[in-house]
């Protein structure tokens, strides 16, 4: 390591400096600008599914997003269809206000009328523009499947405060894949825009302009896109579909699935319904994943996928537990059964030991999370000595929690001493240990 330039110490104002401006650097375009570089998350020519690198690029691909049911654009943006198009006005006559995005036009809000899209209404109008209230449809054209276009739409949608979605395209038939890339590959390869469709996949995730239940079909891609759509975010392997002859008794399915999981020993997992979608969620034990995470997910999912009435299972099985749940439990315990100490002592009282049992139960019920054990004192004495006593109290609590079965690796002491008293508390109440979800 050495200094390469001849600049002298302190020369921060040197006109030749390569430093960037100090201070906040809000984008001046809300993130829509600079499409050629700043939005390219995933470069490379190899984003076309199974196509060989030399496969011909399609002439042009248009994604159209119906936002007609999002009059303020603070609702979900639903893609409705996609197709190769040669013209630029496939929605002519269907909508009055559209946003058009392609490789050259960053974003233009126009009026779709008589087969034309009026442009040049302003620069970057998708950003901070009240005209969004009128917007009904967003286009993005992706000639050659350049994912930059999709990213542009994403950025524009973000700037518009619109949640982003993925076009629900049908998977290409295997024999077609080499010639006709599945746009899902494109979107997926982009770093995977948004997973809102997972919530919609179960039903009603698109809406027509007229509010009817029929999907709008642009071009020749129609309703057959729906059954092939699988929620992204749900793990790939375990989404299972089984034809159901009768309406599902969701309560019965939940009861059966819960029992099946319990019988299989998956205590940290639970099931619930999101619409018609059965969601399996919880904490995945970190052990046993050396043979493959997705294989393990599939194995766990198989426990419930065969239950009568189960049509589709989406999984959210990850390694970390729910911060918020443990946090709220620990705080409630601090209120109801505080762990307090005698004056000038780190000895646990019988009451404190009982309180720690509840803390241990809460920690053990939330695997994957570590807990900060914070030792406090009252303000009597020197700060340094009280910091030491706070540490001792934290240590005593940890020793007891370990005795109660909590792995020591999940516990971290911190000695706050007298620094952070409970303002409303008495001295006795400040001689305490508290528990926080560890950073």
């Amino acid at each position: 390591m050495r200094r390469a330039s001849s600049a002298t110490p302190g020369q921060l104002d040197n006109a030749e400096t390569t430093s960037e401006p100090v201070g906040p650097e809000p984008p001046d375009d809300g993130g829509v600008g600079a499409p050629d570089a700043s939005l390219e998350l995933n470069k490379g020519p190899d984003m076309v599914g199974r196509s060989s690198p030399e496969a011909p690029e399609p002439a042009g691909l248009l994604y159209a997003a119906d936002v007609s049911d999002s009059p303020h654009l603070d609702e979900t943006l639903s893609w409705v269809t996609t197709e190769e198009v040669q013209s630029t006005d496939p929605l002519a006559g269907q909508f009055d206000h559209a946003a058009w995005i392609d490789e050259t036009a960053i974003a233009t809000v126009g009026t779709v009328a008589a087969g034309t899209i009026a442009a040049d209404i302003g620069e970057h109008p998708l950003v901070e523009d009240t005209r969004h209230d009128d917007l009904e449809v967003l286009y993005v054209r992706a000639p050659g499947l350049m994912h930059t276009d999709v990213q542009l739409l994403t950025a524009a949608a973000l700037a518009s405060r619109v949640p982003v979605s993925v076009p629900p395209l049908p998977a290409a038939a295997p024999e077609d894949e080499a010639q006709q890339p599945n746009p899902l590959f494109v979107v997926g390869a982009l770093g995977l825009v948004a997973l809102i469709i997972a919530a919609f996949a179960a039903g009603g995730w698109w809406t027509s302009r007229t509010g009817e239940d029929e999907p709008i079909a642009f071009g020749d891609v129609g309703t057959d896109t729906v059954p092939t759509q699988r929620p992204i975010g749900a793990i790939a392997a375990p989404t299972t579909t089984v034809a159901a002859a009768a309406p599902v008794d969701q309560e019965a399915v939940l009861a059966s699935a819960t029992e099946a999981l319990r019988n299989a020993g998956y205590s940290g997992m639970s099931v619930r319904y999101e619409g018609d979608l059965l969601v399996l969620e919880g904490v995945m034990p970190a052990t046993g994943l050396d043979a493959g995470y997705f294989s393990r997910v599939e194995e766990i999912t198989s426990v419930i996928s065969g239950i009568d009435g189960v049509q589709q299972v989406s999984t959210r099985l990850f390694l970390r537990g729910d911060d918020a749940r443990l946090r709220s439990q620990l705080r409630a315990l601090s209120e109801s059964t505080p762990v307090e100490f005698p004056f000038a002592s780190a000895d646990l009282t019988p009451e404190s030991r009982n309180a720690l049992q509840a803390v241990a139960d809460a920690i053990l019920a939330n695997p994957g999370l570590r807990v900060l054990v914070a030792g406090h004192t009252d303000a009597t004495g020197s700060p340094e000595a009280n910091a030491q006593l706070g540490g001792a109290r934290a240590g005593a609590a940890i020793q007891e929690l370990v005795r109660l079965g909590v792995p020591i690796t999940r516990l971290q002491p911190v000695a706050y001493g007298e620094l952070f008293p409970d303002a409303a508390g008495t001295d006795a109440e400040n001689r305490r240990v508290e528990f926080e979800v560890a950073p």
């Binding site: 390591m1 200094r3 110490p9 302190g10 921060l12 390569t18 960037e20 100090v22 906040p24 650097e25 809000p26 600079a34 939005l39 995933n42 470069k43 190899d46 060989s52 990213q151 994403t154 390869a189 770093g191 995977l192 997973l195 809102i196 790939a236 989404t239 052990t287 050396d290 493959g292 995470y293 997705f294 294989s295 990850f318 390694l319 911060d323 601090s334 780190a346 004192t377 009252d378 700060p383 340094e384 009280n386 030491q388 540490g391 240590g395 005593a396 020591i408 690796t409 516990l411 971290q412 002491p413 000695a415 007298e418 620094l419 008293p421 409970d422 303002a423 305490r432 508290e434 560890a438």
Partner: protein, 475 residues
């Protein structure tokens, strides 16, 4: 609620602390004796080792070569060597979970080259021996490693990676990764500890000078080893270049689970205007609280792993939101950068009830880089481990949509080191307005960081010439 954390209150209490009796009658067990000891050994069952050298064979798919083991006709196997139970597990688990979510979505969208990507995950527990053992068990089963926790741990397998023709993405920002002599098969993300410290000290010096008309003094308190000492080297380099006096040099005085009280006392005694820290968040919390107890009133900043937004939920939250300048290698969760929208959408769907941890964003970066390398390899027609290594040498600069500075994966040591880091303030108000630690991605919660200089390159860092790492192992 039984906790109140206000800087002013804390300072006031310190100032008025009475001494007419100690609440310390018992010889307290010191923190050092009660702190967590070394991580337990891994509970992961080692994978069956495939010992036979995979024979390269032509895949059924025309034009793509695979070895039939690490990449088959339908699956690509990728390894993750992660600290899932050790000192950095809090952050690392978020990071791994994020990778799992992004790969799940990628698979749902078709995978890579028509193949699903399967992740083989093991817990190294931040244990050097376990890391090496589990690497050996796994290496012949995976085409590359998308995650390897720990700089010394990763360094310990660096030569093996070259021998075995595997890539790995290190979780650790050691300045030596860009050195082809050490990190030939390592793909770093973002800048390094040394540059980060250089930027932060430069920024503090610059702003202090603007505000007070004089150079500040700094204290340095770091862990030992490549992390802490690489960071310390950067801080000292900047101080030397800028003429900043180092009031206390606490390089290598901190350790996870150790007692930082002596360092805290020295910081307080130094009266430094700012203290640069490189440790873990819990030790940092200890250090800050004990320094306050000892009367320290200066400001703080620290290396990326030293701070966690979750600290805002602790009793120190108010103080840290005022006194700690957050340094980061990449944009925090929800930051206003172009690529964040895509990332956030995936995270919100996968973790609707999860706190918007920055580790989740980092997980995306690992996923993205891995995916790009594999896709490049597929495009080049060679998905063997050696082919993937070769592909990594051809991807050049990679732009992460502003989430992380562009990384060069070609070029010499000096040119491949990214110089940009970010500086933020941790906002307790923003944190609490979103529900504190109860803030969840599903509600659109973002990181509690507010930008100060989100894309900062100091003059010193820009002009730093790398012909060797800032800190050399064993030095």
């Amino acid at each position: 609620m039984k906790r109140l954390a206000l800087l002013i209150l804390a300072v006031g209490l310190l100032a008025t602390a009475c001494s007419d009796g100690d609440d310390t009658g018992q010889a307290g067990t010191t923190l050092a004796s009660t702190a967590t000891t070394s991580p337990t050994t891994t509970t992961t069952t080692p994978a069956t080792t495939t010992t036979a050298a995979p024979a390269e064979s032509a895949d059924e798919e025309p034009g793509i070569l695979t070895d039939g083991v690490t990449v088959t006709n339908d699956t690509i196997y990728v390894g993750i060597l992660a600290d899932l139970s050790g000192p950095f597990s809090g952050n690392v688990i978020d990071l791994v979970d994020s990778q799992l979510a992004f790969w799940a979505a990628k698979n749902a969208a078709g995978g890579i080259a028509g193949r699903q990507v399967e992740l083989l995950v093991v817990d190294t527990a931040y244990d050097l021996g376990q890391h090496q053992l589990l690497y050996g068990n796994m290496v012949n089963q995976v085409v590359m490693f998308s995650h390897s926790t720990g700089s010394p741990h990763t360094a310990s397998i660096a030569d093996d990676l070259v021998r075995d023709q595997r890539l790995a993405i290190p979780v650790g920002w050691y300045s030596g990764w860009s050195d082809p002599g050490l990190g030939a098969n390592l793909l770093e993300l973002g800048s390094n500890y040394c540059i980060e410290a250089t930027n932060a000290v430069s920024f503090l010096s610059e702003t202090h000078q603007q505000q007070f008309g004089e150079l500040p003094t700094i204290a340095i308190a770091t862990d030992a080893g490549d992390y802490g000492q690489d960071s310390a080297a950067g801080a000292k380099f900047a101080a030397a270049q800028l003429g900043v006096d180092i009031a206390f040099d606490g390089e290598a005085t901190l350790a996870f689970g150790g007692d930082p009280s002596a360092t805290a006392a020295a910081i307080a005694a130094s009266g430094a205007d700012y203290t640069w820290v490189a440790t873990d968040p819990i030790t940092a919390a200890e250090l800050v609280s004990q320094s306050l107890s000892s009367g320290y009133r200066g400001g703080w900043s620290g290396a990326t792993p030293s701070f966690s937004p979750r600290l805002l939920d602790t009793a120190l939250g108010d103080y840290l939101s005022q006194a700690w300048l957050v340094s980061v290698f990449f944009a925090p969760a929800g930051a206003d950068v172009p690529g964040m929208s895509e990332v956030y959408a995936v995270l919100a769907e996968s973790f609707p009830d999860r706190f918007p941890s920055d580790g989740l964003v980092r997980g995306y970066l690992e996923f993205s880089l891995t995916a790009q390398v594999l896709e490049r390899a597929a495009a080049l027609g060679d998905l063997t481990p050696a082919g993937v290594v070769d592909a990594s040498k051809q991807i050049g600069d990679v732009d992460f949509g502003g989430i992380s500075p562009t990384n060069l994966y070609t070029g010499d040591f000096n040119t491949s080191v990214a110089r940009q880091t970010g500086l933020y303030r941790a906002s307790k108000a923003l944190f609490e307005s979103q529900g504190g630690l109860g803030a969840v991605l599903g509600d659109g919660a973002v990181s509690a960081f507010e930008p100060v200089a989100p894309a900062y390159v100091s003059e010193v860092a820009a002009n730093m010439a790398f012909d060797e790492p800032c800190y050399v192992f064993g030095s």
